[in-house]
Amino acid sequence: MFLDYHAVLVFLITGVAMVSAPLILGFLFRPSNPYPEKNMAYECAEDPIGPAQIRFDMRFYTTALIFIIFEVEIALMFPWARVFRDAPNQTLALGAGLIFMSIVFLGLVVDWVKGDLDWVKTFHNKRRVQD
């Protein structure tokens, strides 16, 4: 058991070494000739206007929230699936899983009906909000 994770640790060190080796190699050999134009943000030769690290759309936040809920569901589904065949009463086990899945799925359906999953809000919905 311990040795398995020991192998992961060795792998970690190898991985970090393999990533840093080309970085160091490049650092040793490459030329460096920065000038103001080269250091500007790339916007297809236009001068950048305003900062780039702005607040972005709320919809990404909603997506992240739904993601967290479903990720927790996955974490709970894995052990359930693992012991499913060993369960003394499999019908009961399936029923329990069904109830759990439908509770989480209900949350998704609520979001779906409310339109939080629609990336493009329709004109119809917008007008209803304005009314």
Binding site: A7, A41, E43, C44, D118
Partner: protein, 339 residues
């Protein structure tokens, strides 16, 4: 001592296989795309352009690395590392052949035979999002920012489908260990036949997780220049590139292990592999590589066949089609497994 030497040898074999594949996949992709589009493809450096990847690598190392003045330096350097390391780590739990006999001891061809196998995979594939988010945010420029935000939304959406699509496999294999899953497929039938819906969802989600066409919105060239790695150049750009191809190989290997029976051949079982001794292990490794390579070719084929999705189509497909389908798949598997 023997165990440490054995695991080091396995690490060296697997990481080198992955890196060589990641290096030569662009060449394969260019050749196949040239063939699809009736062109010649790379043919200048070496025979049939075979030395092209090596020439490219040297060129990338010797090119100037432009770090623009407006970036967040720490995150800017950290981002390419985060793009490569998670996909390399997933390799630790992927079994790549039947056991070999070395000095009278049996060695499983998997670097770390963890009981939580597949959970480890999802833990590290979740970390891969950080590389792209760091790159998008630290670049402090508009195209990378848009690409990074899009990529994070896409990757977390499809991670759900990825996770739920494999639940059906555990109900059959009764284990999260990769070796058990392969053994179950060798004894029974491949999971692609027992879990066709799960395979379809996993394959689609794998395309989205690796940011490949038709889901390559984070780096949609026509609208975002190069997406999250617009500001990157030289070796750091190469690392994003290598990270993408390494992730492609990792997902191909995962599909092979989870759905295509690992190193299993239809007319062979564990005993016939064991009867061939270490040649059997070599044959198994070759079969594993060929199956993974087939899936890699599918990536290329799809890339030059399908156009890019729109972002709302992508989110709709993930949340409104694949996610309910994955839940239905779990239910069907549950009912079929009832005694």
């Amino acid at each position: 001592m023997f165990d440490i030497a054995a695991s080091l040898a396995k690490i060296i074999i697997l990481t080198h296989t992955t890196l060589i594949l990641a290096m030569y996949m662009p060449w394969v992709e260019r050749k196949v795309s040239a063939w699809i589009q009736d062109r010649v493809g790379p043919n200048r450096v070496g025979y049939a352009g075979l030395l092209q990847p090596i020439a490219d690598t040297f060129k990338f190392i010797f090119k100037e690395d432009v770090v623009p003045g407006h970036v967040n330096k720490t995150l800017f350097v950290l981002a390419p590392c985060f793009a490569v390391i998670p996909s390399l780590f997933i390799l630790a739990v992927i079994p790549f052949g039947p056991a070999v006999q070395v000095m009278g001891q049996s060695v499983d061809l998997v670097i770390a035979d963890l009981g939580v196998g597949i959970l480890f995979v999802f833990a590290f594939s979740g970390l891969a999002v950080y590389g792209i988010v760091f790159a998008g945010w630290a670049s402090n420029s508009k195209y990378p920012m848009l690409g990074g935000v899009r990529a994070s939304a896409q990757m977390i959406s499809y991670e759900i489908c990825l996770g739920l699509s494999v639940v059906g496999i555990f109900m059959g294999a009764e284990s999260l260990r990769m070796l058990d899953i392969v053994q179950q497929q060798i004894d029974g039938s491949w999971n692609i036949f027992t879990q066709p819906l799960g395979f379809l969802i996993f394959a689609i989600a794998a395309f989205a997780e690796t940011n490949r066409l038709p889901f390559d919105l984070p780096e949609a060239e026509t609208e975002l220049v190069a997406g999250y790695h617009t500001e990157y150049s030289s070796i750091k750009f190469t690392m994003f590139f290598a990270g993408e191809y390494a992730a492609m190989f990792v997902f191909a290997a995962l599909v092979t292990v989870l759905f295509l029976g690992g190193w299993d051949l239809p007319f062979m079982d564990s005993a016939s592999f064991a009867a061939m001794g270490n040649w059997g292990a070599l044959l198994g490794f070759a079969v594993f590589l060929v199956k993974s390579f087939m899936f890699l070719l599918l990536y290329v084929w799809v890339r030059f066949t399908l156009p890019r999705f729109r972002f709302d189509q992508l989110m709709n497909l993930g949340w409104k089609v694949l996610l309910p389908l994955a839940l239905v798949n779990i239910l069907i598997t549950g009912f079929l497994n009832l005694p």
